[in-house]
Symmetry: C2
Subunit: 334 residues, 2 copies
């Protein structure tokens, strides 16, 4: 993968700030990659970055135009095309996490070929991954696992990276989904990897490293989510984590998209996750709990985290409200 | 997929009987599909079927030439090509489980286009599978799960199908690997499915059915094999089995291809498999144990099965030595 940085962030005609959440993620987590933004008429998102023309961004050193916005109706419009074609002609690569691929747009593909530029479609793998061999690797690894999908696993891992780097610790967030890949410029689009190579792709993503280095691996799916559980188990066995962090959103009535499936308890996630992780790494431990309390009031959130911490005997925080510092403490104490 | 039957089995220049094991599987399990064999000079395999020319097979009603032999060095030789091209020209489809795909051979692809015939490469999916929705389906399902890879899961399921049909029970073996797909003419090549669609492909393979119908699902990998465990879990959650059968080969020194990984006990497989299966189907039960005793003497095999049966309290057989009748009894008693 390895997308050339820094970026010019393309916001297109984003109808609101939420539509530009990929660009916002880059702005938040890799501000050094976010040189500027380029917006079309009608754009209602603003990252607080300088508005730049392609020429200005080029002069400032930008290498890749990243599509940081969802497209409407799955169509790459002519208004977008005009800017994207011009970007290729002016020497930028393009990067996108859209469902419809840049490479499938005949005009973009033709201009990229003619100009020798690269179209990065981060939803599809660009690497031939190996089959996992299970050999123990040097360095240390943390994996975030969840009671459900979309409970804050990516946020937890990337927020821990920031705090660990601030403390001078040796840590890298390892992206396994398209947003994380666009943020960091690298990673594995695990949900698009062929079944036999899933665990091997995670071994590839988290290779041998310094003894004190931590890979902070973005989790996917849940062992308890029947649509995606196989992906989760491949992450656990390919990642061979030394530490697990349990992620949970307490207000869900049922598993995401599965009305008949109740959420598991944190105890069930701890026990099952640990049992499976110890197949690949017998020393694995659960070190902390990350709660997404966005739907709770401050007093509710505090009471909930305190109750879980007392019940489970593990540091329990909302990394947005409280910061992930206590989770980092727990990793460092391992 | 749906390969047109019956078949003419192409044995090529197979150096020995083992090289033709895919053809042998079709001969053993779907004799009604196996009209005849076609062999090249030097072939040392013999299925005991009539040797037929393409014209004779055509006259006898064969629809597809199945490559029932492994190729040497991953190359489709000119000697093979000559027969395969002629087969297309005479109106046969071709089916293959070879690693190198028929469709990637320019001459075969061109002749197939010109003649309107189909090249079935069963290692790659031909269907756009859905994402699993976890909705409870009608009918009943059995899944074979193993302590390791290659311990007899396919054999167990297909042998049970035969006995169930002999008894007038309503059952279908559901193939999830290339050999099983070539044998039955249909199935899901699960190891080649994209991660997000694994569980959905198994829901697709085992749809709603009559209340007394059994899908006998071919297992893949093992929950304890770090290279492929994600595939196994997708089978468990996509298959939502009512019954699990545990498969084991007692003489392995370690997990297949993983020298540092010991085999789990049957108790560990039972407990973990059942816990995970009950996420999708709370009524799931472990009904029996299938032991591959090929590496044991008759007295060793009898003693081993008796010991396991006493210890686990479940019918325990080697389906090759003893037949799978007692496993079928256990299913029927559910």
């Amino acid at each position: 993968m390895s997308i050339a940085t820094p970026y010019l962030l393309f916001l297109g005609d984003a109808p609101d700030q939420l539509a530009a959440k990929v660009a916002q993620g880059i702005r938040d987590w890799r501000p050094e990659f976010a040189l500027g933004q380029i917006r079309l008429e009608g754009c209602r998102a603003d990252l607080g970055l300088p508005d730049m023309s392609l020429a200005e961004a080029k002069a400032a050193g930008a290498k890749t135009v990243v599509i940081g916005v969802a497209n409407r109706g799955g169509v790459i419009s002519q208004a977008w095309k005009k800017v994207l074609v011009q970007a290729l002609e002016e020497g930028f690569d393009l990067a996108s996490g859209l469902h419809n691929l840049l490479r499938d747009e005949e005009d973009l593909a033709a201009v990229a070929r003619a100009t020798g530029r690269t179209l990065h479609d981060v939803r599809v793998p660009s690497v031939k991954y190996p089959i996992a061999n299970g050999v123990k690797r040097s360095g240390k690894r943390m994996l975030a696992i969840g009671t459900d999908c979309s409970v804050g696993k990516m946020y937890t891992a990337i927020a821990m990276e920031r705090v660990m780097r601030e403390r001078g610790l040796n840590a890298d967030f390892r992206a396994t989904g398209q947003t994380g890949i666009l943020i960091t410029g690298d990673g594995v689009p695990l949900d698009a990897v062929i079944a036999d190579f899933m665990a091997g792709s995670i071994e590839w993503l988290t290779p041998d490293n310094d003894p004190n280095h931590w890979d902070l691996i973005e989790g996917q799916g849940s062992l308890f989510h029947v649509s995606y559980s196989g992906v989760t188990l491949a992450l656990i066995h390919g990642g061979q984590p030394d530490a697990l962090i349990l992620c949970h959103e307490p207000t869900r009535p049922h598993m995401r998209g599965l009305p008949d499936y109740p959420l598991p308890t944190l105890e069930a996630l701890r026990d099952l996750g640990l049992q499976l992780a110890r197949v690949a790494n017998p020393a694995c431990r659960v070190v902390g709990i990350s709660i997404n309390t966005a739907a709770m009031t401050q007093p509710e959130a505090e009471a909930y985290c305190a109750e879980v911490e007392a019940r489970m005997g593990l540091p329990t925080v909302d990394p947005v409200r409280h910061g992930p510092g206590r989770l980092v403490d727990a990793l460092a104490a391992l």
